[in-house]
Symmetry: C2
DNA sequence: CTGAAAGCGCTTACAG
DNA sequence: CTGAAAGCGCTTACAG
C-alpha cells in the first residue's frame, strides 16, 4: 500500500493531527514542525487519500456531467467535447474532478447518475438535457442533489445555463433579411430538441417583425434530411416560390444542405444563402465557409461548472441569483451568407 | 444527511453486517431477513456510500481518462468525443465510473492525474498521448498505477491500444496508387504527432513498394496549413510536376485542402484526389464527400477501458497478453478519391 | 501550538 | 446464518 498519514507522522515525530494540519495549510503549526512534516511529505511522496478525506468531510470534491443519450450520440460532437473541456477546466481550477456519465438509454443515464449522486461520489451535477422535460431532471430534483441544467426547463427554480436560442434564431434570420432576402426557410426542425424549437421560434418572429411570411413548404423536418437531404432539397428548390435563404438548425444540418445544394448544382450563397448554429470547427472548413451562430460550448460548460461550484460552496440547492444564466452568442458571418452581386431571387 | 446502513439495520431489526451482506448479494443470509432488508432498502431508498466502500475495500471502482492538452485542443474533437463515449460505456458496464482529466499545460495534466491516482480516486487510467515520449507516461510508470496507453510507446512493457497507423497510411496511399496515381503527396505532416508520423511512414512505404517516388515539394508540414492552406496549396499545385493525389494527415486537414483547392478552382477528385483519416462525421458531409480511413475512436476508447478493467481485475500493472492491442481500421471510399474518366495527370 | 480520541459509513474475518 | 468488533485513512472539536 501507499504512504499514509500515520507513517508520515511517525517519521516526522509528530501526531497525525499535525500532519493533517500542515496538509490543510492551517496557520497554527510551529514553523519547525511544519518544515519537518513538509520535508517528510516530500521525501515519502505522500499524497492524502481523497476517499478518506471525502468520507470524513462529507464532500466528494467532484462533480458529474451527465450527457443524455440523444445529446451524446448526435453527430454534434465537437460541441460536446468543447463543453466537457470547459467544465473540466473550471472544475479543476477549484480542485474538483469531473465524472462523465453518459446514459445509453433513458434509464441507464439515471442509474449512473444515481450511483454518482446517491453514492456521494459527486457533490452535484451538470445535466445536458436536450429536452426540457427530460425525466432525469425530475429525478435530480426529488433527489435533492444540487445540479445545474444546460438547456431550458419548464419547471421553476431549476438553475440553468444556456444561450438565448430564440434570440439566436432571430438574429440568424434577421441577418438574412438585412441581406435582402424575402423568402427564408428553416431546415432541420426537430420538435424534440428544445434548442432547435427555440431557434425556430426566433426565426418566425424575425420574419413576422419584418413583414415577411413563410410557407410550410419552406420548413423541413430533420427526418427529411436523414438520407443526406438530396431529395428534400430537390423538393424545396423546385417550389415555384422557392426560398433564397435558409436557416439551418445546426452546423451539421447546414453542411448537409450545402452538399445537397451542390449536388443540385446550385450555388451558395448566390442561389441560396445558408446560416447554421454552433460555429463548430467545420464551419470554416466548409465550401463555402459557413456563417454560423457561435453558441460557445466551452463557455456553457465552463459557466455551468462555475455555477454549480458556487452553489456547492453555499450549500444551496436552489438557484441563487438569476435562475437562468444566459451565455452570449454571436453571429459569425462567412461566405455562405455574403451579399451577392445582382438580384437575389432566382426563382 | 441521507440514509445510512445503520438506519436500515435498525429498521430491519438486523445488524449492519447483515444489511451489508444483502447489498453485496451474498448467499448466506436467511431468506426471511433478506426480504425484510430488501423491503426496507426500497422503502428508505437506501444507496450505499461509495466513498466508504472504496475506503474499506481499497478499490475506487473508477478509472480516469487523461487527455493531454494537445489532443484535447486539436480541432479533432469528434474523435475525442467518440473515444470518451466508448470508454464510458465500457466502464459503466462493469460498474465503474469515469473521470476526465484534461491538462492545460504539460504540468496540469500530471497534477490532475496525480490527484486522481495517488489520491486513490481511480484504480487506473487511460492515457491518450499524442507523442510516445509524453512525460506523463514515465510518471504513470514510476507511480505504479495501472494504465493503458492509447497510442504508441517507445518503452517496453507499456500496455497500449492503438490502430496500426502505418498500415493505415499504407492503405490510403495504395488505394490511390491502384487508382492509377503516380504522383502522390502527403499534407499535414506533424512530427510531434506520433500517429501522423506513422501514417507518413506507411505512405512512403506504399510508394516505394510500388516503384513510385516522391519529392519533398509534395510533402507539406502542418504549419503551412495553419492559415487555411490556400498559399500552401497554391504552391503545391503550381509545381511543374505536381501531385495528382494527396494523403492528408487527418480529416480536418483534408477538408482544409479541399477548400483550398476549391478556391484555386481545382476539382476534387478530377484534378486532385484526396484521402483523409479518422472518418469523422464531417467526411460524408464534405463536398465532395471525403474518402477516409476509419480509425474507430469509439472502439479505441472501448477496448482501452476493457483492457484496463481486465488488468485491474487481475491486479496486474503490466501487460498481459500482447503488449499492444491493435484495433482494426478500414478505408471508407467516397467521392474525393473516386476514379475519374479520362487521363488522370493534368500537369 | 499539539495530541488523544471520536467518528465518517462501510466490509470482513472471527466467534458464535 | 448472524452480530460485535476492528479497521480503512482521514478531519476536527476538545482539552491541554
Amino acid at each position: 500500500m501507499s504512504v499514509t498519514i500515520k507513517e508520515v507522522a511517525r517519521r516526522a515525530g509528530v501526531s497525525i493531527s499535525t500532519v493533517s494540519r500542515v496538509m490543510a495549510g492551517e496557520a497554527r503549526v510551529r514553523p519547525e514542525n511544519r518544515r519537518k512534516v513538509e520535508s517528510i511529505v516530500k521525501e515519502m511522496d505522500y499524497s492524502p487519500n481523497s476517499t478518506a478525506q471525502s468520507l470524513v468531510s462529507h464532500a466528494a470534491n467532484a462533480i458529474g456531467l451527465l450527457l443524455t443519450e440523444a445529446e451524446a450520440e448526435r453527430a454534434n460532437h465537437p460541441f460536446g467535447m468543447e463543453l466537457i473541456r470547459g467544465a473540466v477546466t473550471r472544475a479543476n481550477r477549484s480542485g474538483f474532478d469531473l465524472f462523465i456519465g453518459s446514459g445509453s438509454g433513458e434509464r441507464a443515464g439515471q442509474q449512473v447518475m444515481s450511483r454518482l449522486v446517491r453514492g456521494k461520489r459527486v457533490d452535484g451535477a451538470i445535466v445536458l438535457a436536450g429536452r426540457h422535460k427530460e425525466a432525469v431532471i425530475d429525478w435530480m430534483r426529488t433527489n435533492g442533489a444540487p445540479f445545474v441544467l444546460i438547456g431550458r426547463s419548464e419547471q421553476e427554480g431549476v438553475p440553468s445555463v444556456d444561450i438565448d436560442n430564440e434570440a439566436a434564431g432571430y438574429e440568424a434570420a434577421y441577418h438574412l433579411i438585412r441581406l435582402g432576402h424575402k423568402r427564408i426557410g428553416f431546415v432541420g426542425l426537430a420538435t424534440e430538441r428544445d434548442a432547435v424549437e427555440c431557434r425556430f421560434r426566433g426565426y418566425k418572429r424575425a420574419l413576422r417583425d419584418n413583414g415577411l411570411s413563410w410557407r410550410s413548404g419552406w420548413i423541413l423536418e430533420e427526418e427529411l434530411l436523414r438520407d443526406g437531404g438530396d431529395r428534400a432539397m430537390a423538393y424545396l428548390t423546385s417550389l415555384l416560390q422557392r426560398p433564397t435563404a435558409l436557416v439551418a438548425a445546426d452546423d451539421m444540418t447546414a453542411l448537409s444542405v450545402i452538399r445537397a445544394l451542390h449536388n443540385l448544382e446550385l450555388r451558395v450563397p448566390a442561389d441560396m444563402a445558408v446560416v447554421g448554429f454552433d460555429n463548430t470547427p467545420l464551419a470554416e472548413l466548409s465550401v463555402p465557409p459557413l456563417s454560423s451562430i457561435d453558441t460557445g460550448a466551452y463557455h456553457l460548460g465552463y459557466w455551468a461548472a462555475d455555477r454549480l461550484l458556487r452553489m456547492l460552496r453555499q450549500k444551496k440547492n436552489g438557484a441563487e441569483g438569476p435562475e437562468r444564466l444566459v451565455v452570449p452568442h454571436k453571429l459569425v458571418v462567412r461566405e455562405s451568407s455574403m451579399p451577392v452581386r445582382g438580384p437575389i431571387s432566382p426563382a
